[in-house]
Assembly symmetry: C3
Homo-oligomer: 132 residues x 3
């Protein structure tokens, strides 16, 4: 398993990790199969969405903030229950197919680490599942 | 990687692709493992849910429309930020286990391509991950 | 494919299945790859989130109940459309990486079966996808 390290700079932000994932696929010579992107944090997630217009990522963050507000009738004492909910809604694991040594993203798709309770030092794990 | 083509006829709709996925599993002789269903679009998704009563898919679409409305305080100029949010909430990748050459869906489970910004021509990619 | 059986005791509850998944990984001698946790039910799901403070799971359930209420303008006659929506939002499939024969969960991560329409007898399927 390979690990990417990243530093998030805001409480809620989507960090584009597409280039780093591409490099890891190349560096490891992964050819045909799928790369499992796994976020080992309970207030983060991984997602795939549009990367061309940064407003899309910002709209996603803003919409989620409205849906699951920071302040609410939460029992968890750490004050970040909203981030835990968002983590389960987006999911901590994302599979991306790989063919001919390249991640098979759609035209507009980029891969994002989702920070819901930053700023923090974060990890993103990459595991290789060979296909045929 | 195999690709299914589909045409969606409404802005938001869940299209049942179970039969097409089953056929692809048979046609490719996939026996034991998991089929990765991957939506290469940033305003679509893939999900598994009840297929017996079409009202379930309609309730899902309607509930999501209420949660993440088409019109809102969005920055993205294309006017489909709601669809991008729904895409990340449902996820562009869905794994379904396969055993003895058959997808192992539960009794009521069907596989749906989720259209959140149609009508459009869409693709759904299938990749095979062998198990043991 | 292996199957865990569980009995849920409330309508909406997150059941910690981490120990059972760990045992299954050990018992089957799964070493390097990923375990696919698959919920064959359309009103359940699987997720990974914090397991140290049980208030987190309770806050997740409560927040989802507020977002997608039991009573609403639903067409599906069984009265559990909220549970179907939550199932697609959380997802019926969860991949967890395995290395050196151990699930690679983050420090605070536990695996939960999500019950959204209990109490019921439920199954959780485990399929092994070998890595390298």
């Amino acid at each position: 398993m390979k690990t990417l390290r990243l530093t998030t700079r805001e409480r809620e932000v989507l960090v584009d990790v597409t280039a780093a994932v591409r490099e890891a696929v190349h560096a490891n010579g992964w050819q045909t199969g799928a790369v499992l992107l796994y976020c080992p944090h309970t207030t983060g997630a991984v997602t795939v969405n549009e990367g061309a217009d940064p407003d899309v990522a910002r709209d996603i963050v803003k919409t989620m903030r409205k849906l699951v507000p920071l302040r609410g009738d939460y029992a968890h004492a750490e004050g970040n229950s909203d981030a835990h909910v968002k983590s389960s809604l987006f999911g901590c694991a994302q599979l991306v197919p790989v063919e001919d040594g390249e991640v098979q993203l759609g035209t507009w798709q980029h891969i994002f680490f989702c920070e819901f309770d930053g700023p923090r030092e974060r990890s993103l794990c990459l595991a290789w599942l060979p296909g045929v």
